[in-house]
């Protein structure tokens, strides 16, 4: 594991892990439950800031900070989810967007966490094993859920809310549950991010970050955990991979290429890279074809 000692590469790998947690958790809301949240960065910010604050001021253990950060985000998810889930589609999207922006502006105005200057000197913790431990936990928990009657309830809400109600599923309860679980993991991802970078700034959790996560989910394929994982890595690494191009041309083409790729992918592969298939489904298909 020599490569882990190269600081730059290691940080890239850790950010991949953080984004995997974010994308897989958002997939529960956007992909499986069919709701439309574009404020994931707000939940991430809550976890990040709370965890960092606890770590700096109370020197509580890292694992405790992480989990408290996650729980705070989950509580926020509940608070946002319950009233706003009466809204559908675009309206819900706008409320989550607004919520994310409000969190950011509020953080900008709290001096105890550094306001616009940002928060310095967060104790360094976490890193590769913690991040990937949580990433595996996220993937495991969400994929196990999806294999149960609860997972089918999420899917039923996505497919047809009125029919789901008629079949005895409390659609509001399941929407809120999806939001809460998803926010919890976003908070965890935030905490991991905060303690790895040791520095936080509200601008890291703006609208663009939320969009980044939505893009990961859609690019990977709505409702495919495998897709989310791979897309999270692509979106994290793509700008880095394009860095040499910038050095040669002296012009920053990265975001232009990123946006063009996005448009072209949507036009040519509207279901994302994996559609709603998982690695296991692809493996089954492969075996079928070669037997």
């Amino acid at each position: 594991m020599d490569f882990l000692f190269n600081e730059y590469i290691l940080s890239m790998i850790v950010y991949c892990g953080v984004n995997i947690i974010l994308a897989v958790s958002l997939n529960l809301v956007n992909g499986f439950t069919g709701q439309f949240s574009i404020g994931h960065a707000g939940f991430m910010a809550i976890g990040a800031y709370l965890s960092a604050y606890l770590g700096m001021n109370f020197h509580t253990p890292f694992i405790l900070n992480t989990i408290l950060g996650g729980l705070a985000s989950a509580a926020a998810g509940y608070a946002v989810g319950l009233p706003s889930l009466r809204l559908k589609g675009d309206y819900l999207a706008i409320v989550t967007l607004g919520f994310g922006e409000i969190i950011r502006v509020v953080l900008l105005n709290i001096d105890a966490v550094g306001g616009a200057r940002g928060m310095y000197g967060i104790p360094k913790d976490g890193g590769f094993f913690w991040t990937y431990g949580w990433a595996v936990a996220t993937i495991f928990i969400i994929s196990q859920l999806m294999r149960s009657t609860h997972g089918r309830a999420f899917l039923a809400v996505r497919e047809d809310e009125i029919a789901a109600e008629a079949m005895g599923i409390n659609t509001t309860k399941y929407k809120v549950r999806a939001f809460v679980i998803s926010s919890f993991f976003a908070g965890i991802a935030g905490a991991l991010f905060a303690h790895y970078l040791c520095y936080l700034n509200p601008s890291s959790f703006g609208f663009m970050k939320s969009i980044d996560v939505v893009v990961m989910v859609v690019l990977g394929g709505m409702g495919s955990i495998t897709g989310s994982v791979i897309a999270a890595c692509i979106i994290t690494l793509l700008p880095e991979a394009l860095r040499p191009l910038q050095e040669i041309t002296k012009i920053d083409f990265r975001m232009v290429i990123y946006s063009l790729t996005l448009i072209i992918l949507m036009l040519t592969r509207p279901k994302g890279l994996f559609g709603n298939l998982e690695l296991s489904d692809l493996w089954k298909k492969y075996v079928k074809r070669h037997s």
């Binding site: 675009d90 706008i94 502006v105 009125i162 996005l262 448009i263």
Partner: protein, 300 residues
């Protein structure tokens, strides 16, 4: 009291600009149910077309009504083309695809315009040319009514009246209303839906261009990312008034503009961006269809 009136004037002026941009959002949403994220960047393009056309015409230092109108006109035409191309190249191939795809594409187009703008126009803010000399038309005690405020207000008002005429009294307007009511049925009635959608983008983009010019005049620093915040707020204004509803967009924009000026004026300026979303969330929770909108009830 003077302060209050001053804030009101500033608020109406800001609200007029929001209104011009909000109209584009609301029209496109009304017809395609798409949040056209790229709209805010069309507005940015409007400001830059204004900048470059005035340089090209050599009128960047010749303020006057003629300069203003010619720059406004060129920019509106230019943005119409931009809007048309965006719809034709990026959105039309996705007609019928899931909503989220269209939305992501819209975000992609928006990012593309912003960042290619940074390459072409440069990332540092540029000064907008002096195409109209500002002056106090009225100064009563502490209240100033400037030429810019009046120009902004008059331009918005006249464009609004033209739009109103188009939508209510022309064949195109009738077709637009039909498509927004139900695209499929409209197409069965022989309405060329794609053409109407193109026209909607053209009109909306032209209005956004006007917004860009007016903002450029009033706050004379323009840069490629200038659209993001104002775009979000204009969109919020459209939702506030009832998305898909033309008068609603104007009403919402005025409310937003005035509310924002008062928040800034009375000392809570750091919260000005949160205000927009605070209003939005309250509205959506208590009256999800917006002030003038009607909520669609799903038929079972």
């Amino acid at each position: 009291m003077e302060e209050f009136i001053q804030h009101l004037i500033n608020g109406l002026s800001l609200g007029s600009i929001y209104a011009l941009i909000a109209l584009g959002y609301t029209m496109v949403y009304g017809i395609l149910q798409l949040i056209n994220f790229a709209h805010s960047d069309v507005y940015m393009m409007g400001a830059f077309i204004g900048l470059y056309s005035s340089r090209f015409l050599g009128i960047q230092e010749k303020p006057g009504l003629l300069s203003f109108i010619s720059v406004l006109f060129i920019s509106m035409v230019g943005c119409s083309i931009v809007g048309f191309l965006i719809e034709r190249l990026a959105y039309r191939p996705l007609r019928g695809a899931p909503k989220l795809n269209a939305l992501i594409t819209a975000i992609g187009v928006s990012l593309f315009l912003q960042y290619s703008g940074q390459i072409v126009f440069g990332a540092t803010p540029q000064s907008f040319p002096n195409i109209l000399e500002d002056a106090d038309l009225l100064a009563l005690g502490g209240v100033h009514l400037t030429l810019f405020d009046v120009t902004i207000f008059m331009t918005t008002l006249s464009l609004m009246l033209i739009l109103r005429y188009i939508i209510n009294s022309t064949k195109l307007g009738k077709a637009m209303r039909a498509v927004s009511y139900n695209g499929q049925w409209a197409s069965l009635m022989g309405i060329p839906v794609n053409k109407i959608i193109s026209m909607t983008f053209i009109i909306g983009s032209a209005l956004a261009a006007a917004g860009g010019i007016l903002v450029g005049m009033k706050y004379p620093k323009i840069e490629p990312l200038m659209g993001t915040m104002i775009g979000l707020k204009a969109f919020v204004a459209a939702v506030l008034g009832g998305i898909g509803n033309i008068s609603g967009a104007v009403l919402g924009a005025m409310i937003m503009g005035i509310a924002e000026e008062f928040v800034v004026g009375y000392g809570a300026s750091t919260y000005r961006d949160a205000l927009a979303f605070g209003i939005l969330i309250l509205i959506l929770l208590f009256r999800p269809a917006g002030i003038l909108g009607k909520l669609n009830v799903e038929k079972v």
